[in-house]
Amino acid sequence: MTGRKRDIEATEALIERLSRDAAPVHPLPHPARRAARWLVVALAFGAAMVWAMGPRPDLAERLVDARFLLEQGAALATGIAAAIAALAFTIPGTSPWLRMLPVAPGALWLSTLSLGCLRDWWQMGADALRITPDLACFGYIALIGSLPAVVLLWMLRRGVPIAPGWSIGLGALAAAGLGNFALRFFHMQDAALMVLVWQVGSVMLLALLASLCGHRLLRWPGRADAIG
């Protein structure tokens, strides 16, 4: 028997084995619908954390401040869009537009904060551009984003590891973005440059670190395992 024929027979044997294992499966819902379910969990956890930490005393004032609302809206939109994109990256052949979804809200988020830096500088001078250490932001964002990150990872694992680095990186961006959204309801830090450096910086750093672990967290089952 030639090697070529033997290889093809091995493929046919595999087809037989797989077809015997054809249990019914439920197609995964659209990434937007799955992201909506994730958002419920993430917002509930964020709200619980705000309650646990105690809302900031000037919250009522902030909630009618257009700049605060715009920045928070952009952060929330970036988180939601990143969750949809992360889930879309685990569905082969999905629209590339769905994967690019976080670009617009992300740009809006960075733009509003950058404009805020300019406005602060215009109003307060060089003092507005002073950066002081605020490392607690990183810890809070990681803490508030932890449960949403675990839930999203579980959801991503139900899909396909087509681009693990992108899926995990965007998933972390979503979780950390939501973490930052919740953080600003109890953390009294509104200077645009400080928010940009310590909060957005933490979100981006977490997303970058997570994307580097993408291939470890999401991967196809090894061939050796499959053959057993």
Binding site: M1, T2, G3, R4, K5, R6, D7, I8, A10, T11, E12, L14, I15, E16, L18, S19, R20, D21, A22, A23, P24, V25, H26, P27, L28, H30, T90, I91, P92, G93, T94, R158, G159, V160, P161, I162, A163, W220, P221, R223, A224, A226, I227
Partner: protein, 194 residues
């Protein structure tokens, strides 16, 4: 068509493939078998076109990987979307993974072969080094299971092809591939620890 490849009618149209996939998601084994056979045929052509340098056994290996991936991913196909772009996206991902794995395996094989050459061809005045290398190699081989050791002996030391080694050992080509892959990985770990 390649010699020995089973004769099949011309490929199914995309709509028929989508119907088969829908029935597959519903648990229809007959539809699934037909779908996998059709996909195997198409993927064989795709792999040969995209990676013409692969040996036939590696092409078939990759086709099997793609079928296993389709099996795992079948819940991710949305019945309202076309089947072929979904399938091709999976195939591309597996081809990229395979290329990385292939390069890694080649590097491991080269390292082991270099070591083998070292202890076979060194001049007599490097006898001590020769003995140390031989002991390292022996130690690395000791950590292997009997199947893995046999795979190294047949494929690397006797230079048999996968098919010949499978026939000689009464095993299958797939099992030999797994055994040699595991053996090389274990040996690399042992040798790098030294």
């Amino acid at each position: 068509m390649e010699p020995n490849e089973p004769a099949r009618p011309e490929g199914l149209d995309p709509v028929s493939l989508e119907r088969l996939m829908q029935r597959t998601q519903g648990g229809d084994q007959v539809a699934y078998r037909e779908l996998l056979a059709e996909v195997a045929q198409r993927m064989r052509r795709l792999v040969r076109r995209r990676a013409p340098w692969l040996k036939p056994e590696d092409t078939e290996d990759l086709v099997q990987d793609i079928l296993l991936s389709l099996h795992r991913a079948r819940a991710s196909w949305d019945p309202e979307r076309p089947f072929l772009p979904w399938m091709v996206a999976i195939a591309r991902s597996r081809m990229a993974d395979n290329a990385r794995r292939y390069a890694r395996r080649a590097a491991i094989d080269m390292a082991v072969m270099d070591l083998a050459e070292t202890f076979c061809d060194v001049p007599a005045n490097r006898h001590a080094e020769n003995v140390v290398n031989l002991m390292s190699m022996q130690k690395a081989m000791d950590n292997l299971s009997p199947t893995e050791r046999q795979a190294v002996e047949l494929l690397r030391l006797r230079q048999m092809s996968l098919a010949e080694a499978a026939e000689a050992s009464g095993s299958t080509v797939a099992a030999m591939k797994v055994a040699i892959h595991r053996a090389m990985r274990k040996m690399r770990k042992t040798l790098w620890k030294e």
